[in-house]
């Protein structure tokens, strides 16, 4: 099972967990696995057509999946996957 790092803004959906385990051989499968454990999380990462939302980036280790094979990017058991959404705060 790969480890998925949940950003603060999505932790409401993971009962406050910062890191969760998810199975799957590709990023697409990992997102499906996340959705079955934490319903509602997929809609925050992917749009209605299933494509990755354009204000959320997924990294396998340090690599952005958009520049790999997107949702088809293979995932190893030992991988750390980071969900990094756009955040605007600064002055706040």
């Amino acid at each position: 099972m790969a480890t998925v790092r949940i950003p603060t803004s999505l932790r409401k959906l993971t009962q406050g967990k910062e890191e969760v385990q998810a199975s799957g051989a590709t990023i697409g499968e990992v997102i499906a696995s996340l959705e079955s454990s934490y319903p509602g999380i997929r809609a925050r990462i992917c749009d209605e057509s299933g494509a990755l939302r354009r204000f959320v980036n997924l990294f396998v280790s340090a690599e952005d999946i958009r520049f790999l094979k997107n949702l088809e990017t293979p995932v190893q058991e030992s991988d750390e996957i980071s969900i990094v959404p756009a955040i605007a705060g600064g002055q706040c």
């Binding site: 803004s9 204000f55 990094v84 605007a88 705060g89």
Partner: protein
């Protein structure tokens, strides 16, 4: 032998060159052998200053190769002739003395450079910078002549602003249309209790005036918009983005690409922060990272979710560090890298950030950038 006969003999033994020749074909190494006060009044562009009295002591460090193409100059061509003879005696084979010296150069209407001359007080204030070979007097001069614009005098702008002012960044602009609120003081360390209700740009200017009189603060008490952004950013060398909303981030991205201004971008949320440097057309831009903003219902703000007070301290100081490095041209900037900070686990992670070959603003095939209505763009269209 009288001096004039001596000088005549020296000039016969050395090679002289002319102002025109030096202007047309700059030598590998141009050395100004005058005294410090003369150098301070102006010198040839690209020249290195080594006063005549120290020339023989320093030349081997400065010019290790004896075959280097060297031109020396002084005020009128006498001291440089004597200096050229001395260097010949030391084995330098391609030394020339510029006839007529700085005076002839200036009379010919050639460009001159006036060095920034640090005062005694400045030498003392920046002593720890001057000790660093990566900064030194040249670097400190760059800082003193640099113009940095901070977007937001809030969580990130406060620590970034304080450190940039302390470092001696000569001109600092702040863009912020807000006033200091009591709830800001848990993290916005450039403001204080007495200044609640005071415009943030004014409060920041007051703090900086007390911290470092070398810094000129420009107060832009406005909200950045498509109408004013180009006029505001055009005079600055680089931008530190610590704004609190998506429309301003996209606006600033597009405008900074138009004017090719590097942006040190950061954002914070609760216990997390992100920092990166957008170097226009060299590395990725904000739209390469996030092509579109989240719709408002998916973009929680710190006003609703809260933020740990010390978090912007860490992130703002990383921004200041990157700004100083960019000004000095040292180290490896955070270009093409996204640094993420997790305060709860005290972890820094780094993600690779390539340029997006399909980016609508900075890719090769992109249409010319036009500033749009960014509020509407971020409202979900």
């Amino acid at each position: 032998m009288d001096f004039q006969s001596y000088l005549k003999r020296v000039k016969a033994e050395i090679v002289e060159t002319s102002v025109d020749e030096v202007a047309a074909r700059p030598p590998a190494q141009l050395i100004d052998v005058r005294e410090g006060d003369e150098w301070a009044e102006g010198h040839l562009p690209g020249a290195t200053w080594v006063p005549r009295g120290k020339l023989e002591l320093r030349i081997e460090d400065l010019v290790p190769e004896r075959e280097t193409d060297l031109v020396l100059y002084c005020a009128g061509g006498t001291r440089s002739a004597l200096a050229a003879q001395a260097l010949q005696a030391l084995g330098y084979t391609r030394v020339r003395s510029m006839a007529g010296g700085f005076g002839a150069w200036k009379r010919a209407g050639q460009p001159i450079e006036k060095p920034y001359v640090m005062t005694v007080a400045q030498k003392s204030r920046y002593a720890r910078h001057l000790l660093l070979s990566e900064v030194g007097e040249k670097g400190q001069e760059k800082l003193l002549q640099a113009k940095v614009l901070l977007i937001g005098a809030g969580g990130l702008g406060a620590p970034a602003g304080l450190y940039l002012a302390a470092a001696g960044v000569g001109t600092m602009g702040f863009v912020d249309d807000d006033v200091v609120d009591e709830s800001n003081l848990q993290r916005q360390v450039i403001h204080n209790t007495r200044r609640v209700g005071v415009p943030k740009v004014e409060s920041a200017a007051q703090t900086i005036a007390d911290l470092n009189p070398d810094v000129k603060v420009v107060q832009h008490r406005v909200r950045l918009s498509s109408a004013n952004v180009l006029e505001i950013i055009k005079d600055y060398d680089l931008i530190v983005d610590g704004t609190d909303n998506f429309p301003t981030r996209y606006l600033l991205n597009d405008a900074s690409l138009m004017l090719r201004k590097p942006v040190v971008n950061a954002s914070i949320f609760a216990f997390e922060g992100q920092v990166t440097v957008f170097h226009p057309f060299v590395g990725p831009c904000y739209r390469c990272l996030y092509p579109e903003p989240p719709p408002p219902d998916m973009a929680p703000s710190c006003n609703e979710a809260g933020v740990l007070g010390v978090l912007p301290g860490v992130i703002g100081v990383v921004q200041a560090t990157e700004a100083v490095k960019l000004i000095l041209g040292i180290g490896k900037p955070l270009v093409g890298r996204l640094l993420q900070y997790d305060a709860l686990h005290m972890k820094f992670r780094e993600f690779k950030l390539p340029r997006d070959p399909h980016c609508v603003t900075c890719s090769e095939g992109a249409k010319p950038i036009e500033l749009i209505d960014y509020e509407q763009f971020c409202a979900g269209r």
